[in-house]
């Protein structure tokens, strides 16, 4: 009998190392997309949740999870996508927020969605004198901003 406890930890670590293909500095664990990894009789059940309902990265993430677990020696892998409870940017870890900023994406505020009142800090120069150029950005989860201080455009990970 294998020790399921050790297997479960190993399986979680393997799945957790998968990164978001759109934001490759962010692991799906830090992003809050990886919800559950359970091991039974050598098979692994993984539960992931989409950031946005139509997020096209989910298919790639699903395949990457299977590959990562296969490399860790788990052949029988089932990945299930669940919608409930709904993903929120509050699930992005502190390490994830910091990685986003270093990558040049302004992280979401920790307080959930806030309409138009809080300043978004420029990830390049730290200025709070920024403005939204467009409500929507290069992926579902981002909006486009520009910094009045340093003049650089940047993506902002929207609070949801």
């Amino acid at each position: 009998m294998v020790t399921h406890h050790a297997d479960a930890g190993r399986a979680w670590s393997a799945a957790a190392a998968v990164v978001d293909p759109e934001v490759p500095v962010l692991s799906i664990d830090d992003l809050g997309v990886l919800r559950e990894v359970t091991v039974s009789n050598g098979g692994v059940d993984v539960v992931i949740t989409p950031t946005y309902s139509g997020c096209p990265a989910m298919d790639a993430i699903r395949e990457d999870v299977v590959r990562a677990l296969a490399s860790a020696g788990f052949a029988d892998v089932r990945v299930r996508l669940v919608l409930s409870p709904a993903w929120t940017t509050d699930w992005i870890s502190a390490a994830g927020r910091s990685a986003l900023k270093d990558y040049g994406i302004a992280p979401p505020s920790a307080a959930g969605p806030v309409r138009l009142s809080l300043s978004v800090k420029c990830p390049h120069c730290g200025s709070l004198d920024t403005r939204e150029v467009a409500h929507f950005g290069s992926t579902s989860c981002k909006a486009l901003f520009v910094c009045t201080g340093c003049g650089e455009p940047f993506d902002h990970f929207k609070a949801l």
Binding site: S53, G54, A75, L81, V82, L83, S84, H135, L160
Partner: protein, 274 residues
Amino acid sequence: MTDAHLDHGHVELSAVTLSEEFVASDTPPTPEVAEYALWLGDDALVLAQRLGQWITRAPELEEDVALANIALDLLGHARSLLRYAGSASDRTEDDLAYWREEGGFRSAHLFEQQNGDFAHTIVRQFAAAHYLYVLYDRLRASTDPVLAGVAAKAVKEVDYHRDHADQWMLRLALGTDESRRRTLRALEDVWPYVDELFHDEPLLDALDGVAIRPSTLGVAFDADIAPVLAEAGLELPQAFHAAGGGRRGQHSEYLAPLLAELQVLARQHPGASW
């Protein structure tokens, strides 16, 4: 959309099982619940297809991106809802999207209306986003766990769509004489199709607690749009109400060409993948 039955050649996953469930339920819906999910799923699918037609044609690049993102969210809602609806009759989301004829679609007429000029699209989007917001906000409390789960996810996204539409309504209505003239014309053209969204159908009698009775959403909808209309200095036209009939499969002349575009690839190249 992907098709679970197809063999996606470039992915070597033969050794594993991929579960395609979007929602955590093993129980297929009753035929009545499936029909209701079809209504909502078709609304989302048809509007997503319409909005996608703006890509490369919007007034500015940022708006191309915005309308495409909104369409993508709606497509996500459609996939979850059609998958659930189809599970009652052993059909996939692709079976429902690509292989039904016009008369099989249950979308309301508002969503199939042509894009018109940008003002028409924004007015349609203003009505659609506020309607979907008040609907999903209530549907979160549905006794059906799948519908409640989809609604809880979707409400956060359509809230953002609502904000996008509100900002454009203000900008167009308070912009130039020309933008205001076009906004007023768009209201005259689009608003007759709003009434159908709040029309009760007999199906609702069988879905107490599961579905939201459309007629009970009107008050919340009116309250939701009122501040924006006031700020924009707009009044709703006292127009006629279009006949509707989408929930019974009766559609305007605009749905069939939209479906032809949506379905042509899947029908000419069955099993195509890329």
